[in-house]
Symmetry: C2
């Protein structure tokens, strides 16, 4: 009964309030109509999401996970399955089924893919440790340096010889796509063979991390040069040096400023009580640095990588160990959803019809040869004696993610051609050739590496 009694005063109160309001509102009748006409411009929300996008993302995830799983079971990296699944999906139109065509041009899916890459590079930065990188020793440093410079110039040379009609910056960009080593597949093979602790393995893994940084520097310089070419024609040697300095300044500036600021920011985050805070604020930091990198003319992923390095370094010093694992663990579901969108989309954009033209196929094979040969020169950088240099050279072959990311960035950068029309630096044919190079180098590594390591054991 208490409920019955207690409801009465509340109800009366509400009635009274209602009555007062009614009086107020009726006193101003001409205003009533105004709210109707008030917002002729009034479209509150742009409906950003075409429902097609939802189905598209769902299909991309299905393709990514099913093909990724198949390739993992075959002892290949999942990313290769995502890429090949994307190629099949994107070329269904050749079989007369054009259902996947709108995926190629949708702005939202492209944006999700780019956000996925930014988060992926942030993760790579988190996993790379600045101090460990500086401690890997001369062999790793030399192997990495040769392994970036040799394929860069080989790729540049091949492109300049084979497609002389393209802009010089396009040749340089193609060289850049050959730089970075994707060490995941090598690490997996070494782990499967129980050789992860061998000196060769440590040299390869150390060199791959340094490769990432050097590759990002080259990307920064090339992107900056293209940005300069877009506005003011050709670029002088001094201009290139200035862009290189800017890239180095950005990375080291971010490191120094971040080194001072991030511990305090993280201390602040530690005082937050809500659980989603660590992830959201870390990613906000990553996105801000990515945006800042773009503002100074570098690629977004350079900023994302720097953010990861910074948070990693600080975590190791200031924050309890479990928090760091926490951030990487919280990031994994997010990057596990977004990164495959990028790789499937890269596959979707490969135009198989391009390979009907023998010169595209030829260029793809030549690029692959340059990529493999360039990394074999790495073994010259091994200063110690008695090591399995062939295995080290083979271990550095796979290009994978980073090469694709560079190619994807190149496809979005524009340069004026001879007629002054804006053309993408990496056109559809070159893009397809780069993807083929990535696929072949990644597929070739496991058997080659196993063979080289087996020979070594026999020799010993």
């Amino acid at each position: 009964m208490s409920g019955q009694i207690s409801r009465t005063p509340m109800r009366a109160g509400a009635m009274r309030g209602c009555a007062v309001l009614t009086v107020v509102l009726l006193a101003a009748p001409p205003l009533r109509a105004a709210i109707v006409a008030g917002d002729a411009e009034g479209a509150v929300a742009p409906h950003g999401l075409n429902p097609f996008v939802l189905a598209g993302i769902a299909v991309i995830w299905l393709v990514a996970k099913i093909c990724g799983e198949i390739f993992e079971r075959l002892g290949q990296p999942a990313v290769l399955g995502e890429l090949l699944g994307g190629i099949v999906l994107g070329n269904l139109a050749l079989a007369g089924w054009s259902v996947a065509e709108p995926l190629k041009t949708d702005v939202v899916i492209a944006a999700l893919a780019e956000i996925g890459v930014i988060i992926l590079l942030f993760e790579v930065g988190l996993e790379s440790n600045l101090k460990e990188m500086l401690e890997v020793g001369w062999s790793s440093l030399l192997v990495a340096t040769v392994g970036v410079i040799a394929p860069f110039f080989l790729g540049w040379g091949v492109a300049a010889w084979f497609i002389p009609g393209e802009a010089r910056l396009a040749h340089i960009f193609i060289g850049a796509t050959l730089c970075a080593t994707s060490v995941g597949i090598t690490a997996r093979v070494l782990k499967d063979l129980g050789r992860l602790k061998a000196r060769e393995a440590r040299i390869i893994l150390g060199a791959a991390v340094i490769d990432d940084v050097l590759g990002l520097l080259i990307l920064a310089v090339v992107t900056g040069a293209i940005g300069a070419a877009q506005t003011g024609g050709d670029l002088s040697t001094w201009g290139i040096i200035w862009i290189a300095c800017k890239a180095l300044l950005f990375l080291f500036g971010a490191m120094v400023v971040g080194h001072l600021l991030v511990p305090r920011l993280l201390g602040g985050i530690g005082r937050f009580e809500s659980r989603g805070v660590l992830l959201a604020l870390s990613l906000a930091f990553c996105f801000l640095l990515a945006w800042l990198a773009r503002q100074v003319g570098l690629a977004e992923i350079v900023g994302a990588f720097a953010a990861g390095l910074l948070l990693d370094e600080v975590h190791f010093e200031k924050v309890p160990k479990h928090e760091k694992r926490d951030l990487e663990e919280l990031l994994r579901p997010v990057s596990g959803l977004l990164a495959p969108i990028f790789f499937v989309l890269m596959g979707i954009k490969v135009d198989l019809r391009a390979f009907a033209r023998p010169e595209v196929l030829g260029f793809a094979l030549l690029l692959t040869v340059a990529a493999i040969a360039g990394k074999q020169l790495c073994s010259l950088g091994v200063v110690e004696r008695g090591l399995n240099r062939v295995a080290i050279g083979f271990g550095m072959i796979p290009r994978g993610e980073v090469g694709l990311i560079f190619a994807g960035i190149g496809a979005t950068l524009m340069l004026p051609d001879a007629q002054g029309l804006r053309q993408p630096v990496i056109n559809a044919s070159i893009f397809s050739a780069v993807v083929i190079m990535v696929i072949i180098t990644t597929l070739a590594t496991p058997p080659a590496l196993k063979w080289a390591l087996a020979r070594n054991i026999q020799a010993k």
Copy 2:
């Protein structure tokens, strides 16, 4: 030395391959130029991501987490902080700082917000249990039914009386935004007071879940009616009945078909070895059902909610307990990143200048009164005696997320006005009024509920 020896044959092989390739390629020199000219149309990737978007998302996250934290410490739900932070951010232009203006119209941010809502409703579906819902008893069912119908008609009536110039469907839509109870804040207050196990608490929580389903049904009907009105003018009673049947058919059809299919699909997922599979394929399922809902003329969130209900139900029966927790745990970082984008964006879109016009403020207050009064009628649905009916009525007051989501959907739906121009169903003024209603009902609940529960204790 073995490295030195073993490298030689490989190098020779590479050289030979290179030479063969060179011959092949030089034999076809005229083809070489083709690759250059090949892709005049060749823009491979649309650059979906304006770098501004990255900075925008970062700022949204900063605002969401800082304001959310402040409100949680004040004993208020974080979503309220996100909303108010968004209102401040969106109205910085009033202070002459127009930095946040592009956020209001960016397609990518709008799409991320909508994806966030879809994932949020998927999560709500996962957390609601179909069986528990059917077992809560008559009180919950009656409270929920009255609590949906009363505010719906009150809201419709208020809108029809106050803004008679708007379309009838707009009035109905405004009624729909008043339906759903956002029970989070009530649950929090009850938990803080140690009353979560009380009979009143169980009635409120049960009714809120049923409210969600009934509210989604009303939304489905209203959205369908608007879709019909867009194409063929006014809607007959039979048309409305058909849409209601379609919505029910979709929900129950999804349940029945899903009940048969999902266990097998989940069995398949269980056989996958990669870790990201459960999350990606569950979300793919959610997105596909959301897309399907849209295809049959319902809102995407209806499909997302159904997907959550289905996966939840099946999980409980077929999949080990830890896997279910796993999915919800994996979802949390994702929804924790995307859902706040929606709420901050809703705040950003509130135009404070609208409240300079007394009729908008008046309409907001009148809507609030309708929202509160409508839910007080709930207590009539309590069939048991001796319960604290005032507390039950107060506990049902907050609108929160779902009301905002409905308003956001209404803002994207278009109806032709008297002159035949397409206008959003919920224009900017009405949208602002709905947001104010959500804020007031949410702010008013904790003190009102505490007061009602304290009275109850004294009365006993």
